[in-house]
Symmetry: C2
């Protein structure tokens, strides 16, 4: 795995940052794509949203049972979106605001400034959305998402 | 990046397999999680759908302009879901059918038998879905998704 670019945001430290892209509509950012990949983003501007896969580059180690941001009970790591994982890959759907050369302007960011980008995929509801999903332990916690920020529980 | 398990499906070769999980509701499969990660899947069974990140392990090389499955025109690679990418990470939302020990039964599979699994995240519509998304070049092609299979254009 080798970064294809760097994501720049206003989030310089974990504490206080959004826990999900969905709760960060005002979070601006820009992707600085490595020049050699620029041909790969033609046709991208027709999409309003893109899926970013990136490295949680400041995550160190992981535990298989964690207290996720939205709960005080320990949950299985893979039943959470916690950033400290065996393969520390982050996934966010962000809004595509514009492209100029190798710079992709985005909003709805929830990643740290300087995050190494691994992949961009177009977000396609007809491929990515599922109806009537059950969300397990989150069912009674999801209402708190809007008002919950990173409190540093997975490292500062 | 190191696999946390292996995904077993009925798809032994690329040609003829589904191009998206969404078009493969009958595609059964099972994840054989490495024993040392089993504690990480507690609480997962409450979720009806899970996001799998995995390696397109038989993808070899990539081009920055490709003819995607749903088009005959060349498009920028990052504006497509083509499997041959600089970082060959696949993303599928599948249905969770059940868990027994380290075996996770799934359906709605669109990956090859033997695919190395990198991560499992719970699928949460309130986090992952976006409304009113524009889908660029796919707008006039998406209706063909249901009836399109992998024709081997990215390798056999």
């Amino acid at each position: 795995m080798t970064p294809i670019g760097i994501i720049h945001t206003d989030f310089k430290s974990k504490k206080g940052m959004p826990i999900q892209a969905k709760t960060s509509p005002d979070g601006k950012g820009r992707i600085e794509l490595l020049d050699r990949y620029v041909d790969g983003i033609s046709d991208l501007e027709g999409f309003s949203h893109i899926i970013l896969l990136y490295v949680f580059h400041l995550s160190e180690g992981y535990r298989l049972k964690v207290k996720p941001f939205l709960d005080d009970e320990k949950r299985g790591l893979f039943a959470t979106r916690a950033p400290n994982r065996p393969n520390n890959i982050g996934l966010s759907v962000v809004k595509l605001e514009g492209i100029r050369g190798n710079i992709i302007s985005i909003s709805g960011t929830d990643m740290l400034d300087g995050t190494p980008l691994l992949d961009i995929k177009p977000y396609v509801p007809q491929m990515d959305n599922r109806e009537n999903a059950r969300i397990g332990w989150l069912e009674h916690k999801i209402h708190m998402m809007e008002n919950t920020c990173n409190d540093g529980r997975f490292g500062g």
